[in-house]
Amino acid sequence: MLNDFLLLMKSELVLAFILFLLLIIKVGKEVTNERLLSLIQILLLGNFIYGFFFIESGSLFGGMYITNGLIAFQKSIISLGIYLISLLFSDWLKKSEHLPEFFILLLSAVIGMFFLISSGNLLMFYLSLELATIPVAAMANFDLDKKISSEASMKMILSSALSSGVLLFGISLIYGATGTIGFDQIPTLLDGSSLQILAFVFLFTAFAFKLSIVPFHLWTADVYEGSPMAVTSFLSVISKGAIAFILLTTLYKVFAPMHALWYNMVMLLSVITMVVGNLFALRQQNIKRFLAFSSIAQVGFILLGLSSYSVEGTSSVVYFVLIYVFSNLAAFGVAGAISQSYGKELIEDYKGLYQTNPFISWVLALSLFSLAGIPPTAGFFGKLFLITAGASKGNYFFIMVAALNMIISLYYYLRIVRAVFMDKNDQPIAKINLDPSTKLGMIICTAGIILIGLLSWVYDYITTLSI
């Protein structure tokens, strides 16, 4: 039993260990930020690597906690993401006055996500969802002296509180309708009554809110813009990834009997999300806001893949999130480096960047290409597989709209590329001295962007896990 406990919950335990270590350090004697950050980076790397060992599948606590190969892999993606965040934003982190607190909050949120992915029960789901949300709201306020930072975190906590209220209402209805909150029993008791559908809609809005599906997305851009870059990137990449994973489980396992019903909804929302995300992204000036809307559009694609209700759907979503981690974090990394050095966050400021900073320009360009889905970057494969999975139901009209959306998205991604590479600027951003670990992070991201797609075994591995 204990053995099982240790093995199955190993990722959460490791994270908890790191978290307590940080707490102790915080309480104990002063350590310089540099050293602490290096330690954290090493620990997170260890955590990531460790994630690939001792993978077992099984369940704990009477089915409240489940894990298997795929879930372990999803957790590895998240571990990788936080490792990359610790690398990419090392400059900002080093200067932060509350470095340990930041990671304590971050790790608690990650633990929440891990439990979220592993949850096998609505109670577990709710608890971990809150655990994954509340610390992030606090993190959003991490630039304590910035007005917009507190506004952002206020918007986030209030919106998410409302959304969890609605979620809970939904859960209570499900409980009322089926008498159970276990993931394995719910599907057997679903009969498609209106009450159940209503409950499902309420439940789904929580996902929609967290994933920023239109029209539940409105908080996203404001929060992204107001939060520190590291938090924004965490919100847009890690937290979305985790929610996407659990949404997979929820839709494919828990609400499997209703798939013919939710298919319509997911398709519709996917298209609306893409269109609205793209339309708003078109005219953004602030890079964070821009990336927020672009990430909304990306979610549209995730939904497209989700709609297929098949092994391909699962694997392509997981694959896409993996790619998305690399691409979006690279973009945020570059934006963070620039914002950290010169405080510039407007796309206009990026004009002529290539003249002074060719390396980060290429990283940025590659990440944008990957987000836009242009070969040979991994984003191409990710997007294509999502679309292919979505097309398996034969709804070509929506596929067509999705494909056309890729053009709009290309337009605004190219707008940044154009600013960086083509536009003239008398006073471009000066040469940025990148922290070595930031550079390392960018190199890892770049490598990921290029290789994840071309090396087809990555995808095959995910497929074998998804079956």
Binding site: I374, L384, M400, R418, F421, M422, S456
Partner: protein, 492 residues
């Protein structure tokens, strides 16, 4: 011969270019890479002929198949038939000439050559892939380098042109994507493999939906009316080598796709929509030609004439006869060489006179006999002079088109034929105003072509003349493959 070499070599070249320090090193490594690739293409051509001569009747030669995303039924499947070999030869010619012509690029040399090489990589990969997924992959690879080439090294309204080009081409490939998915899901089994798909019976309903998607999608690349508007702006803003690659190679991707993917895999669809294709391409041919007549900028002249000439490619495909299809392929090769050469010459002239307005030039024969001779040759090729490649291709298309006995096809053919007169008008106008007439005093001290420009022009002219004088080798190369396609289209 191992076809992966064709992809690996540009990759290797790209890596070498990345490692080089100075501009000169970059140029030379690009040139060496392009030359080796050129030799490789020739080797492929001769190996292909040898293989065929020795009685190998397989549809595709030198097939290779590696596993790649097996769960999506994708494989890295390569192989060539006559049409692909012809296109690869074309690419090799244009690439080496493009590299030579760009010798004077001083701004960001390394990036420039890197993008050129990537662009050529996309083209090579596209022409040899037998799997629709990797075909699409390579198709899209080629888009962004074009965007950057135009946007960074271009002139005029370059950002606008680059944007338009990238977006329209991506739009085209979005349509292609949807069409491909339709094929993938509606065959008797899910696969992206071209050869497998060709043996399957795709439901007629699906063909009717997917054919237009694929054809229009690829058509955007090859300037299908009315989706051709990226052509004039894109070409005229691009740097010389960019225009050459764009018109010489990239537009051919579309034609090849229309033929190989849309028409070959969906014969019923092709028959269903053939008349619309014919109408659109006949419009493109004439309308492009008339629009060219009014242009004053040399690059616009060539760009619009490309619209007109690429109309022939689509017309040949739409006519659905073996001869016309073979002619369409020949037209692709011929137009590729010719238009690349045309852009090269325009680049050379522009570099010297610093204008592309025909009205501001005149009498350039006097100071640059070589360049103007090339201009004459390319102009004459464009207007279909026998002995140069354009004639062979156009005549094949006309002969093939005429094999359809009904009035509709006849009228379309005659309309297309009429463009040879209009072409003569605008070409002679352009040549007459630039090369002939009294010379402007400020051009008296200009110099003729340098070694790299000469070499580039000679390589392309060699290709043009080789086809023009002895078309039978190209015809022999293409016809069996065209036959195979027609066989599929004709067979119920």
């Amino acid at each position: 011969m191992n076809l992966t070499l064709l992809i690996l070599l540009p990759l290797l070249t790209a890596v070498v270019i990345l490692l080089m320090r100075s501009g000169v090193q970059v140029k030379w490594s690009a040139l060496i890479g392009a030359s080796v690739q050129f030799v490789l293409a020739l080797i492929l051509f001769f190996a292909f002929r040898k293989e065929r001569a020795s009685g190998n009747e397989a549809q595709m030669l030198f097939e290779l198949q590696y596993k790649w995303f097996p769960s999506w039924h994708i494989s890295f499947h390569l192989g060539v038939d006559g049409i692909s070999v012809a296109m690869i030869l074309l690419t090799a010619f244009v690439v080496i000439a493009g590299v030579l012509v760009s010798w004077n690029v001083e701004k960001m040399t390394k990036e420039f050559y890197l993008l050129l090489v990537l662009l050529s990589l996309g083209a090579y990969g596209f022409f040899i892939s037998l799997d629709l997924f990797i075909l699409f992959f390579f198709l899209e690879i080629a888009v962004i380098p074009k965007y950057l080439l135009i946007g960074i090294w271009g002139s005029g309204k370059k950002e606008y042109a680059a944007n338009k080009l990238a977006l329209m081409l991506m739009g085209g490939s979005a349509l292609v994507l949807v069409g491909l998915l339709g094929l993938y899901f509606n065959g008797t089994e899910k696969t992206f493999d071209l050869l497998l798909l060709s043996k399957m019976q795709i439901p007629v309903m699906v063909q009717k939906i997917c054919f237009p998607l694929l054809f229009v999608g690829f058509g955007v690349f090859t300037a299908l009316f009315p989706f051709h508007t990226w052509v004039p702006d894109g070409h005229s803003s691009a740097p010389t080598a960019g225009s050459m690659f764009l018109a010489g190679i990239s537009m051919k991707l579309g034609g090849y796709g229309c033929l190989r993917v849309a028409t070959y895999l969906m014969p019923e669809g092709a028959r269903e929509y053939a008349n619309i294709i014919i109408v659109l391409s006949a419009i493109a041919i004439l309308y492009g030609a008339f629009a060219t007549m009014m242009q004053k900028d040399l690059k616009y002249i060539n760009a619009y004439s490309s619209v007109s000439h690429c109309g022939f490619v689509l017309l040949g495909i739409g006519m659905l006869t073996k001869t016309a299809i073979a002619g369409a392929v020949m037209q692709m090769v011929s137009h590729g060489l010719m238009t690349a050469l045309f852009f090269a010459v325009i680049g050379m002239i522009y570099e010297r006179t610093h204008t592309r307005e025909v009205n501001e030039m005149g009498g350039l024969i006097k100071v640059m006999p070589f360049i103007t001779t090339v201009l004459f040759i390319v102009g004459l090729c464009s207007l279909g002079l026998p002995g140069l490649s354009g004639f062979v291709a156009e005549m094949s298309i006309f002969m093939g088109s005429w094999q359809n006995p009904d009035p509709f096809h006849r009228i379309a053919t005659i309309a297309a034929c009429m463009s040879i007169v209009v072409t003569a008008v605008y070409i002679l106008r352009a040549i007459g105003k630039t090369a002939m007439g009294p010379i402007n005093d400020r051009y008296l001290l200009l110099e003729d072509a340098k070694w790299n420009e000469k070499l580039a022009a000679i390589i392309l002219i060699a290709g043009i003349i080789a086809i023009g004088i002895a078309p039978f080798w190209l015809n022999d190369l293409i016809t069996p493959a065209a036959d195979e396609i027609m066989h599929k289209v004709a067979g119920k």
